[in-house]
């Protein structure tokens, strides 16, 4: 690997569109195309030189480079965690590329209308139009393509309300004081292996700041697209809701179908001050590999929020339908008195996908509350595990938690597991845990058919019933999309 030091910083080449990629799994994954775009990318491999160059290319202040280097040095002392209920081939960290971005023409686009046509077309195909005329109303979108943000819509309206919504790279340049104060405050770089790696090499992601008392007028949304091959995606998102503010944020993700596995190791940090509320929704549809389990994204993500302020609230809603491996535990630290944490999750696995996902609710403040609703659907030969921790600290007088974990099995070869960890150090706390396992049976399908409902409608009704509590937490248009996504994935698995 490390011939990086003496070689040109950036090599430029065209990624090839391989028609094979498209044929592998046919219609099952409709986002599996590759965009043919000229890119600037680093050679493969990771060392301090690469990190310095990454920081330099982004024009980062010294404190960010320091943060990266400390993280990198720490990461080198760590080993990959093995406790998750997933099995995969070793990841060759030196065989990955840590930066890939569409090549800028001249000074780069001044506005979204100047972004490369290929990239705009890509997002159009994904159903995320970015140009002024076609952009989604009511939703401001930050579009991230491989290692960089290509633009953010509805900037004018957001500015009017004092809402900062931009790429993290821009935030580092424009609002370094906020980044310095909060980045790493929720997920320290030492937190875990993948968080340390991300802290060292994060490329882009979104930054949101909602000022005091502001109710964000739009849904904020980031769309992540991995395009380049053999490139890791390490985005970092930071959302700060100041006192009494409110924001709803949604992220979506897709990637081309490729034979090789791709690494995605993101960090998301949320901070809610007094009386603030953050609602964070994810619809994750990374490429999951083919029927034999070849290819797909390794999704190792650290998402955590902290309710710093009293009466603050953080709510995670996730619909996880993609990735070959999912390792993800969106968590809430309930520090402020009377703060609330919520986790609503639907995780679907099919073919040979493996998911180990859940949440952590750490109760520190008095009268803090948390609610966990996890719905796992496993089909074919997939493995779907819920792993969740509820921790009541001695200070958490009167804390309450309710957890409900339901698993739905489709077919006879899949498996579902529930690993709850409960730790209570205050006698006044109330902690409840419920778990069920059920199956979609051919008898249920036939029952519905014999009432005039066809197979598609029957599956849709059954899935809707199973996931209802979670879907009702999603913004309306996304809940419709989420049901469709699940139906599409399960087609042919039931019966």
């Amino acid at each position: 690997m490390p011939e990086t030091k003496d070689k040109p910083i950036i090599s430029s080449k065209k990624t090839q569109l391989t028609s094979n990629d498209m044929q592998l799994t046919g219609r099952e994954y409709k986002y599996g195309f590759v965009t043919d775009v000229e890119v600037e990318e680093f050679p493969k491999g990771l060392d301090e030189g690469i990190i310095r160059r990454l920081s330099a290319i982004k024009g980062e202040p010294e404190f960010v480079l320091e943060f990266r280097l400390k993280a990198f040095r720490h990461w080198q002392t760590m080993t990959e965690p093995k406790w998750a209920h997933v099995a995969y081939n070793a990841i060759g960290y030196q065989n990955l590329r840590y930066y890939s971005a569409p090549k800028k023409r001249g000074d780069g686009p001044k506005s979204l209308d100047e972004v490369d046509k290929e990239i705009l077309d890509t997002f159009n195909r994904l159903g995320i139009p970015l140009t002024e005329q076609k952009r989604l109303t009511g939703v401001a979108v930050d579009a991230v393509f491989d290692s960089v943000s290509v633009g953010t819509t509805h900037q004018d309206v957001l500015k009017e309300h004092g809402v900062m919504f931009c790429s993290i790279s821009e935030a580092i340049r424009e609002h370094p004081e906020l980044v310095k104060k909060y980045m790493g405050s929720v997920v320290p770089y030492k937190d875990n292996y993948f968080a340390a790696l991300n802290s060292a090499v994060f490329t882009d992601g979104s930054f949101v700041y909602i000022p005091k008392g502001v109710r964000c007028p739009l849904e904020l949304s980031t769309y992540f697209r991995i395009n380049a091959a053999e490139t890791g995606q390490f985005e970092r998102t930071l959302i700060i809701a100041d006192e009494g503010s409110h924001v709803s944020y949604l992220e979506g993700c897709t990637a081309p179908m490729r034979d090789e596995n791709q690494l995605h190791a993101a960090v998301v940090e949320l901070v809610a001050l007094d009386n603030a509320e953050i609602k964070y929704s994810t619809v994750q549809n990374w490429y999951a590999g083919d029927k034999e389990g070849k290819g797909g994204i390794y999704n190792f993500v650290t998402k955590r929020g902290i309710c710093t302020g009293h009466h603050s609230k953080i709510s995670w809603t996730q619909v996880e339908t993609g990735s070959a491996i999912t390792w993800k535990y969106p968590s809430v630290i309930l520090k402020g008195d009377y703060s609330t944490g919520e986790f609503y999750s639907v995780a679907l696995t099919n073919n040979k996908m493996q998911a180990d996902t859940g949440t952590k609710m750490i109760h520190i403040g008095r009268h803090t509350r948390s609610r966990i609703v996890s719905k796992g659907i496993s089909a074919d030969q997939s493995i779907n595990s819920y792993r969740g921790q509820v921790k009541i600290m001695p200070s958490a007088e009167g804390a309450r938690n309710h957890s409900q974990c339901d698993s739905l099995l489709v077919g006879n070869q899949c498996s579902a597991n529930t690993f709850p960890y409960i730790e209570v150090k205050n006698k006044t706390a109330t902690v409840e845990h419920e778990a069920t396992t059920s199956k979609i049976s051919s008898e249920q399908i036939f029952y519905l058919k014999s009432r005039g409902i066809n197979e598609e409608g029957a599956i849709s009704l059954l899935l809707n019933g199973f996931c209802k509590e979670v879907f009702k937490e999603l913004p309306l248009e996304f809940s419709v999309e989420a049901v469709r996504l699940l139906e599409m994935k399960l087609e042919g698995s039931v019966g």
Binding site: S438, Y447, K449, S450, G452, I453, G465
Partner: protein, 281 residues
Amino acid sequence: MQNQTTQKSNVETILTVKGLMAKVADSDKQIIRGLDLTVNAGEVHAIMGPNGSGKSTFSKILAGHPDYEVTDGTVELEVNFRQKNLLEMLPEDRARNGVFLAYQYPVEIPGVSNAEFLRAAFNEICKHQGADEMDPLEFDDFLKLKLKFLGMSEAFITRAVNVDFSGGEKKRNEILQMAVLSPRLAILDETDSGLDVDSLRVVSDGVNKLRTKNNAVLLITHYQRILNHIIPDRVHVLYKGQIIKSGDKSLAIQIEEHGYDALIKEYQTSNATPASGSLHG
């Protein structure tokens, strides 16, 4: 079969089964061995028989259950004054064309309210008939009317389909579905089994209220008991996949008094070498 069609003239025949043979799919286990049956509009037919005679299988075959495979014979359903091949239709198309099966063991659908489920089914039928679909509010009112008509509680609207229902409630829920979907041919598969006296009355009253000149009921039962509440026009005895005797309601009383054994013995001695289809009446 003559006996069934000659009773009334100028009536519509809703269901015509001829020489039906069927087995368990992917096996050699023959269950229906040459069954003939004609059901006219306005009629109630009871199909009785000992355990294992093929009663429930017959009802599932009519609904299109994939566990069974028809190997011979025909089944025709009258649709808009034309005889259609029922066996070629998908289960959902059979339902849309007016076939309704009230299950012996209704299936639970967790998380889906009765209202959602019934509206989905009702709207499929509307769509099929080219009628306007109902929105949730409209449908709720419609459902309340049906519940009132059947003397059932409005709690059935919001409860998840058959989940945590008692045996009696499940059967009542089947009758509610029948009321909402108003089928042309309702097949009640041992709807009376496991019912207490009160539930039996609610269910029977419901069926009686839903009987019209234009629809027909196929009542599959082991016991004569329900026939005291729903008076059949014809009673058939099924044995080893064939109808070995047909008659009026007195046949059911005869079975109640003497059991199936006497009938079976009579059939076996008088037909040492039975030819399929020549025995009825």
